[in-house]
């Protein structure tokens, strides 16, 4: 047992957790640190302690805007004049030679000094064209939503693996002891695996705000600006904080005793850590989620005005507040992008819901000087076909699509990679999900080949044995 905390560095501590032993020594240390650091430092204690990256990071934190259902790239960020020209002709793609080509019904134009081509469906985001780095050579393994979503989040659709956010948190720790380091706002149903820690310690999984637990937001939807986000059960109705602390100390004594008996029990370690985090969250979360001190101007910047942009606007504003407070990785999610039918009505409606909020987020981060080291990522799980489906829809397409990044050390006003003339298949600057993950970790100062975790006798990586950093997009 190590008694001198100085000899027991955080790296050693982590290593010892990862092999599953020596937790008790570690827990004692973490506890001491927690007490010592609680009043003086904002950094998180224990396994969430902020850690140095492998090399100088360009981005310190991530806001990931996840578009569930796979938005059409050829109608948004991948301009395909040839497709428009050949509208109505027989397609030559896919198993059944596709249907007829469907030129985008929307106009594209060039934006900013960089002259990026963006569709008229995204007027707000277009105004930030010079910040955007379009990744137009994306591809993924399977054209099925569940698998592709899991792969986008964890790299592997076949086995349960830690999420990108969990890896980031494991690599870098958190900068705020009182908040989860990884937060998922309004995640979809049945998506626990997207935010899970798998074999990484449980503390690295996302805290999910907004659905699990009563799903109150669902019931409150539509009441406009009266709605106030909150985390359920954030306050004890009868115990004062110091009495609750006494109680929690006793609970943890019981928990540590159990852990001592069980010797190795990652789940119980998770229980211990989540109680501590929850206790600290009570202090900080209510204020953080209270948007009433935001100016009218800021609210309207995000489209928080009772219209269709309200819901996502609130999420975007919360994301800014979270990263500002030191949260490492925030994921927002927006659904209903699966436009097999009704493309002409539904796609503009979805774009309208996110365009102003995202534009507001980019503007707000910029004026607070946060964009330079905050990486904003926009992505669906795959793209859609250039040929139509049922006249007014598009089918799944995993062979070529577009995601984008902004801020956090990527080249702005830049398009990297391309699909063929119709947008069917990535042909240049191809970027598989593994490459995309490797690049994101690189921007965070982490070497995807060195960020490993030993489990079941082998070192695991987010990118498995794949992944090439797209150096061309680094600013």
């Amino acid at each position: 047992m190590i008694s001198n905390p100085d000899l027991f560095s955080r790296r050693t501590a982590l290593k010892s957790i990862s092999s599953g032993f020596g937790y008790l020594a570690f827990a004692a240390l973490a506890d001491q640190q927690a007490r010592a650091e609680k009043k003086t430092s904002a950094g998180a204690p224990g396994p969430l302690a902020a850690r140095e990256p492998h090399f100088a990071a360009r981005a310190k934190r991530v806001i990931f805007l996840s578009m569930r259902g796979a938005p059409s790239h050829v109608d948004t960020f991948d301009y395909k004049p040839q497709l428009t020209k050949d509208d109505g002709k027989e397609g030559k793609f896919g198993r059944l030679r596709g249907g007829r080509l469907l030129g985008s019904p929307w106009d594209f134009s060039q934006h900013g000094e960089s002259g990026l081509w963006i569709s008229e469906l995204m007027p707000g985001i277009s105004a930030h064209a010079d910040e955007l780095c379009l990744l137009s050579g994306m591809h993924t393994d399977l054209p099925n939503h569940p698998q592709a979503q899991v792969q986008m989040h964890t790299g592997n659709h076949q086995f349960v693996r830690p999420s990108l956010g969990a890896w980031a948190l494991y690599g870098l720790g958190s900068e705020n002891a009182n908040l989860p380091g990884f937060i998922a706002l309004n995640p979809g149903n049945g998506s626990a695996q997207h935010f899970g820690s798998a074999f990484l310690p449980a503390i690295y999984q996302a805290a999910r705000f907004g659905t699990a637990g009563g799903r109150r937001n669902v019931a409150r939807r539509g009441r406009g600006s009266e709605r106030q986000e909150s985390v359920p059960n954030i306050k004890n109705p009868s115990l004062e904080t110091d009495l609750q602390r006494l109680q929690l100390d006793y609970v943890q004594k019981l928990n540590r005793a159990k852990l001592g008996r069980d010797v190795h029990q990652p789940a119980v370690e998770g229980v211990i850590e989540s109680f501590e985090l929850a206790f600290r969250m009570q202090d900080e979360v209510p204020g953080l989620m209270d948007l009433s001190n935001e100016s009218k101007q800021t609210l309207s910047l995000y489209g928080i005005d009772g219209s269709a942009t309200e819901r996502f606007g609130r999420q975007c504003l919360l994301a800014r507040r979270f990263v500002e407070a030191g949260v490492r990785f925030v994921e927002l999610s927006h659904g209903n992008w699966d436009h097999h039918r009704n493309l002409s009505e539904d796609l503009p409606a979805r774009c309208n819901e996110i365009d102003k909020p995202i534009a507001g987020l980019l503007a707000d981060l910029k004026r607070r000087d946060l964009l330079k080291d905050t990486l904003v990522i926009w992505a669906g799980e795959f793209g859609r076909t250039p040929h139509g489906q049922g006249g007014d829809g598009r089918d799944h397409n995993n062979k070529g699509y577009t995601t984008w990044m902004a801020g956090g050390g990527v080249k702005g006003g830049f398009q990297y990679g391309a699909t063929d003339a119709y947008g069917y298949e990535a042909v240049a600057g191809k970027m598989h999900i593994h490459d995309w993950h490797a690049t994101i970790l690189h921007l965070l100062g982490l070497d995807h080949e060195k960020l490993t975790y030993r489990h079941a006798g082998r070192d695991f990586r987010l990118t498995d044995v794949h992944g090439v950093v797209a150096r061309d997009i680094l600013a």
Binding site: N189, G214, P237, Q244, L254, D262, A267, V271, F275
Partner: protein
């Protein structure tokens, strides 16, 4: 014997005969084509396409620019029955016979045009608009696909030899030990009596043992441990709480919920009958093959009494209570989506296959061609599903419900005579008003006047529907009707059409209704009957002992619930993208045993809990851990978290409040037909009650917090394995939620009541440990607890709290500490 249950009211003009028109037709003659091109197509284009074509609108779900569209019709049913003028809605509409269907709405077609249509329909409505006939071919080699392990019939192999011959207590143990020995692993020691008893209670009935039960078991165990244990197993299997525990496992798989989910999320106020049916079936130890047959085709099985019939009808709720997009505009799309959902749940739950993947293309990894999918889909397209829900402007796909043959003894939602009279009066008023408005609307349409009358009509329709729904739920005396969700056969079955990429407007060839080729076995019928959907044959085919999958899948589900993970860890996917079994011979052995023992779930559970492997300690072993960290080979018992329901129930047990009586119906049944979030508010869904968690209201996207936070099954999906998250939201719930605080409070009162009133707190502490952990507190633990009570009381007094009150608060906090601690929440 009954043939068809009564349906409440008339089935609306609609799906009947929907598909019968799809039979093969000869190509129209040149002359017929000429007539169509000259007389019919131009009229359709000029007068109809504006509201009924892919390029414009598809009002009422009716599309007239394709032959398929015309034949399938829209919301009101097929527009055209070739050769049958009076059955063709198209004719009714253009001849303005029905006030509600006067088409084109502004001006009646000329008499000569109408005569052309009459002639055309009578000559069989030849319609050349079809283009080349697409025939979808598969590239899947079924014979080769059949070589995959899970499509081979399970067979018993010779028991493997083991070195430690005295270790195994059963055949199952032999299989496990052989692998452990091969890997150089040594099984852990046997579990302690108390730990094992808690494990057995939680696993079999989902409740912890009471202190009395612990004590009595201890006495029996000291006399004869094996006999005591086996007797306990039998006793627990016989308790009604067994069905509540194991029924819940099946409800996870059956994606049971009391609302439609998706965009509209309307309640299913009658779904609870299926829940109770499942629980009762497990309690009766209904043979699993029969259980499956009832759920797939209960309406078609031979019966001896009304009670049997009732039970079988309710069983088919399995097919009716899935998630539904009630706002779908196109009725045919809705019907196909419904059939798809039924295929999905049935094949995942029973066969462990994801057959729905083959809807748009051949299955990517398993030998299931798209044509097989449509063959199966034809069976469900030939089935009518009765799920209820109210039709509103946005929710348009509601159906009737099944009128069950045995009336409830104490009906739910009955109405007083006064209430009924009031509602009838209001309804009549609204109906009259609606009629007036519709008349006015017709007149103004004719006169070309624009007004907002349509909106008034919509509003009134909503009112009328609401009243009708409420009144439809009761008989003429105001007594609540006994209704259920379920299915019935169509009078005329459909020969399904393969759809390219699953698209409605891309029909390819017709295929005969049928099953999956890769699972064809002796006894698979050559063809399905022309006078039924084929569901009955499907049910028998599914549960044939020759079918390699159902027994394997079910024993694996049972195994997973007892040992923490399945022999096949992907419990609902036995295909190529699933995981291979860790012990293939053992899985086969169990599958064969299961069928031999008459598909008895209780017998299988008994066999498994009586193994030595189940009774191992969960003690950690570093060496074994490094070799097999996931404990796939079962060198110890895998520690695991209590399920959401068990955690909640265990708290109620510790506080002494658990009410084991089954509540009648459900909070959703009481709320009736409504949209989740409206009359059924989150507050109502989270109301504090003391009955078992399995009876809590279970609506999609609105599970009670106590369940949702702790990873209860999301009923939007088939759930074989639950997630096990560990997030601060759970800790916040345990620290601050009213339910937990209340249980702690009642438990503290219980401690005071059940112990002598002395200054000595030691006795209370000991009782609390027994209630919470089912074991004695150690001396150190008692000292620590005393220390806590003392310091908490002192701190509260210092804050100005009165001494006695402070002492009580401390006791309450102590109880809560036990209830939220890891030992309470985990099973060793």
């Amino acid at each position: 014997m009954h043939i068809h249950p009564l349906l409440t009211g008339l089935f609306c003009l609609g799906a009947s005969g929907l598909m019968s028109v799809l039979a093969e037709e000869e190509a129209p003659s040149a002359e017929a084509v000429k007539f169509f091109e000259a007389k019919i197509r131009p009229v359709l284009a000029d007068y109809c396409y504006k509201c009924h074509s892919a390029d414009e609108k598809i009002k009422g779900g009716l599309q007239l620019d394709t032959r398929e569209g015309l034949r399938h019709g829209g919301d009101s049913g097929p527009a055209l029955v070739p050769g049958k003028l009076e059955e063709s809605l198209l004719w009714t509409a253009i001849s303005w016979q029905d006030e509600d269907y006067e088409m084109p709405p502004k001006q009646k077609l000329s008499e000569s045009i109408r005569a052309d249509f009459r002639k055309w329909i009578e000559m069989g409505a030849p319609d050349p608009r079809e283009g080349e006939k697409i025939v979808l071919k598969t590239e899947i080699d079924i014979a080769e696909g059949r070589q995959f392990w899970s499509f081979q019939k399970p067979e018993k192999t010779i028991l493997p030899a083991v070195k430690a011959a005295d270790w195994p207590q059963s055949e199952v143990d032999r299989f496990l030990l052989a692998v452990l020995e091969e890997e150089g692993l040594v099984p852990a020691r046997d579990a302690e009596a108390d730990a094992l008893l808690r494990r057995l209670y939680i696993d079999l009935i989902g409740l912890p043992p009471t202190p009395k039960e612990f004590a009595a078991y201890g006495v029996a165990w000291r006399k004869d441990p094996v006999a005591a244990y086996r007797a306990k197993v039998d006793e627990l299997l016989a308790r009604p709480q067994f069905g509540e525990r194991w029924g819940r496992h099946w409800l996870d798989v059956a994606r049971y919920a009391e609302s439609s989910g998706k965009e509209i999320n309307m309640t299913y106020p009658h779904a609870w009958r299926y829940r109770d049916y499942v629980i009762d079936s497990f309690n009766e130890d209904k043979p699993y093959d029969q259980f499956v047959r009832e759920q797939v085709a209960g309406d078609l099985l031979a019966i001896e009494s009304d009670e049997d019939w009732q039970e079988n009808l309710i069983a088919t709720g399995f097919l009716a209570l899935g998630p539904k997009g009630l706002n779908e505009r196109n009725p045919r799309q809705f019907a196909l989506d419904l059939a798809d959902e039924q295929i999905d749940v049935m094949t995942q739950a029973i066969l462990g296959l994801t057959v729905s993947c083959a809807r748009c293309h051949d299955h990517k990894s398993d030998p299931i061609p798209t044509t097989d999918y449509y063959a199966l889909s034809g069976i469900f397209q030939s089935t009518r599903t009765y799920f209820g829900t109210v039709n509103l402007a946005v929710s348009r796909r509601g159906t009737k419900l099944l009128d069950l043959p045995v009336a409830d003894e104490d009906p739910l939602r009955s109405m007083s005579a006064r209430e009924m009279a009031f509602m009838k009066e209001r309804l009549e008023g609204a109906e009259e008003q609606l009629e007036d408005l519709q008349r006015t609307a017709r007149e103004s349409r004719r006169d070309g006047v624009n007004n907002n009358i349509q909106q008034q009509i919509l509003r009134l329709r909503r009112v009328v529907t609401g009243f009708r729904a409420r009144l439809n739920g009761v008989d003429s005396e105001g007594v609540g009707k006994t209704l259920g969700m379920g299915v019935q056969d169509h009078p005329r079955p459909v020969e399904p059409v393969v759809l390219v990429r699953g698209e409605l407007d891309k029909p390819a060839q017709e295929v005969p209704r049928g099953f999956l080729q890769v699972l064809a076995h002796e006894g698979t019928p050559e063809a399905l009957p022309a006078n039924g959907s084929g569901r009955l044959e499907l049910a028998h085919w599914l549960t044939s002992a020759e079918n390699p999958l159902p027994a394997r899948v079910m024993v694996n589900r049972i195994w997973q619930k007892l040992f923490g993970q399945g022999l096949v860890t992907s419990t609902s996917n036995f295909g190529a993208t699933g995981q291979a079994p860790s012990h293939p011979e053992l899985l086969d052995y169990l599958a064969v045993r299961f069928v031999e023992e008459g598909w008895s779930v209780k017998a299988m559970i008994r066999e498994l809990v009586n193994t030595r492997a189940y009774q191992l300690s969960s003690e950690f072993n570093k060496e074994a851990y490094l070799k097999d960290p996931g404990n796939a080979l079962l060198w110890r018992f895998t520690p695991r978290r209590l399920d959401a329901e068990v955690l909640r129930d265990a708290m109620l047990c510790a506080s002494g409040e658990m009410n084991l009586e089954r509540p009648r119906g459900s909070a959703v049944a009481t709320a009736g037909d409504t949209v989740v979030g409206q009359r059924l508010s989150p507050e109502l869904l989270n109301r504090q009650v003391t009955y078992r968690s399995v009876y809590l209201p279970f609506v999609r996207d609105g599970l009670p917090e106590s369940l949702a936070l702790f990873d209860a099954a999301d009923p939007n999906l088939v759930t074989g394995e639950r997630e096990s998250t560990n997030v601060p939201g759970q800790a916040l719930y345990l620290m601050n939620n009213g339910f937990v605080l209340r249980r702690s409070d009642v438990m503290a009162q219980r401690l005071l009541k059940e112990t002598e009133e002395t200054e000595e707190t030691e006795e209370r502490i000991r009782l609390a440990f027994k209630l919470a952990y089912g074991r004695k507190a150690s001396t150190l633990e008692v000292e620590q607890a005393k220390g806590f009570l003392w310091s908490f009381t002192a701190a509260a007094v210092k804050k100005g709290e009165e001494r006695k009150r402070a002492g009580y608060k401390a006791l309450r906090s102590f109880c809560q500490a036990l209830l939220v601690s890891a030992e309470f929440r985990y099973l060793n």
